[in-house]
Subunit: 365 residues, 2 copies
């Protein structure tokens, strides 16, 4: 695997927007290239279109209005940006699907960025990975067969491995570069791939699920990026249909579901599709993740028709699973109280997203 | 009250760092003054040392390294910054205690900033105000006499007013400019001052509490800014002692208590002091507030010796108080499920902050 760090990647962009190191971007000339007084080593360590004066900001549409200042406005979260101080950029390349960047931040550890959007930081990845894995797996008795869609960093695999009952884990990740980068820079996450129960499939999850045996999985976890780029199909109805078919009766889906503060329309759409598709139950939960927009991330949890699933009161509490809490790495975020609490929703969300506020006490839903 | 907006405040800084409009800052020349191509109206509407290219970032120590870029690193949350797109700055003045700024953001409504730190935005103030008020007031039966320390914007008063049992509300805010600015720009919060039960005291809360009759209050809510500047004394032991004395037996304190992701040491210190001072119980709760650092804010909840208080299971649920949910403005964030869920703590916090993780099931504490 090729790692750019230390190879003097610098500011080798040519006039057509292609960098001489093969890094291609349509985001304009990196602003640090315009910084007259930057020293050569500084340029080497920190040059990227998302890094200005040593800070990374989540971009998407980058504007450089001739003022040597670059500000960002992502259509998924207009009008706000979160910035992290950059110590050095460790990796940056364009994969077949997206731009992959890894940098060392000053206070959140290493950071994985895909197409300019923070996917994980070492400091707070625990919240996302532990919640997306254990919310579904602790809600059913003895999960045995699990599918992960996306999740190429391996963090969700690491969490699934805490469950001794699990015998077989399929993971379908479309972008091999994400897996390779994680193995190189995020060993605490990529450790998930080392479990012998893991079967890696590099490819399109839509295609993979189309060929999956009906009723094969106890749980499917969709750990995708935002629904732009390669993950777009993963929020559409046909995809949810194939998931429902691949689940056993009473099997469960946990799907990344954006921010309750920013994306109530997306959440509404997803909940509506899931209600049509999953005849067991459909719920929304959320967790605090500082480096995600608005500081939260949501999850849609669904079950297929069959043995009922009480998502809010885990039947399979992690504290009672032998060795689970300390397996490989002690749980940092998740516990059974956090599990139940994740389903408590702000009043505005229950009003804005129909089907989340039907019952005065969702615990009875 | 003097409002600077529309008076061509622009970039009138003189060489000694004093602006000709009386605005004083030691934060260096506002970067927008250096922006060669900015138009005059743009300068007028957006000029402030925290605003670069139309974006506000939380500063404190501003660095201008000759590159015409300004980045910020607050000692309370080093290495990260949250930025909001600015439509126009509506107000900026130095009060006796702090710099007061109000701007209109593009997606979070109007924003109140004190000494460069976001205090509230119209979009997410509901979470903070509703939680800091109802966590204590719904935990005791029929609260009658309440004291608010700080809270000059009036939002906490608005929330307290939902409780019909309350007969008397004292508020002690040190900075009159905050109250005036709120009345001018945040009528949905300042409406709290209109309640006839409210008694406003402009002054030092430490002094106010020293003269408060012993056992006067059922509940005290400390809605202060971060423990730098005028709020420093509010996290020290003598202050908590005076609070405990001013509370009746079994009375409750709710104190703003920073971020569980960033400030475990501060939280540990505060919890330790409270354990020495409050002999009933001491708990930690938190809420999601997107525009606060790391996207969360915490609360320390304490009760004095006396009738026991079960903070996690509200004895005085807001849904059962006549007219409370829709009083003046419908509750946006708080409900009884959110109340209980706020006390569920991540495993890392229970490990890092002693006295929060003593019991395997904090619900039994």
């Amino acid at each position: 695997m090729e790692v750019d760090a230390g190879r003097g990647l610098g500011c080798q962009k040519t006039m057509d927007g292609k960098a001489s190191n093969g890094f291609v971007s349509d985001k304009g000339i990196p602003s640090c290239c315009l910084k007259a007084r930057a020293s050569a080593p500084e340029l080497e360590a920190k040059c990227h279109s998302t890094v200005v004066s040593g800070w990374f900001s989540e971009p998407q549409s980058v504007s450089d209005k001739g003022s040597k200042m670059v500000y960002f406005n992502n259509p998924m979260w207009p009008g706000e940006a979160h910035s992290l101080q950059v110590e050095s950029i460790l990796f940056k390349r364009q994969s077949e699907y997206q731009e992959v960047v890894v940098f060392k931040s000053s206070t959140y550890g290493k950071v994985l960025v895909l197409d300019g959007i923070v996917q994980l930081t070492e400091k707070d990845e625990c919240a996302y990975q532990e919640m997306i894995a254990h919310l579904p797996l602790c809600s059913i008795p003895s999960p045995k067969t699990v599918l992960v869609v996306g999740g190429g960093d391996g963090g969700v695999l690491r969490e699934i491995a805490r469950h001794n009952s699990v015998e077989h884990i399929d993971i379908c990740e479309i972008d091999k570069m994400v897996i390779d980068v994680s193995k190189e820079f995020f060993p605490e996450l990529a450790i998930g791939f080392e479990d012998p129960r893991v079967h890696l499939h590099v490819g399109d999850a839509v295609e993979f699920l189309r060929h999956a045996p009906e009723g094969k999985y106890d749980a499917i976890i969709v750990d995708s990026s935002d629904p732009v780029g390669p993950a777009q199909e993963l929020v559409e109805k046909p995809f949810f249909n194939t998931i429902a078919k691949a689940l056993r009766p009473g099997g469960v889906l946990c799907n990344m579901a954006e921010s309750m503060w920013l994306h109530t329309h997306l959440i509404q759409d997803m909940i509506s599709i899931c209600h049509e598709t999953f005849k067991g139950s459909v719920h929304y939960a959320w967790a605090s993740v500082p480096t995600y927009p608005s500081g939260v991330i949501g999850f849609v949890l669904c079950s297929t028709e069959g043995p009922p699933v009480d998502f809010k009161n885990p039947i399979n509490p992690i504290e009672k699973l032998e060795g689970a809490v300390k397996h490989k790495r002690e749980l940092k975020f998740y516990n059974s109280e956090m599990h139940s609490a994740a389903f408590a929703l702000p009043s505005f969300l229950k009003r804005e997203v129909k089907a989340l506020g039907d019952s005065p006490n969702p615990a009875q839903k």
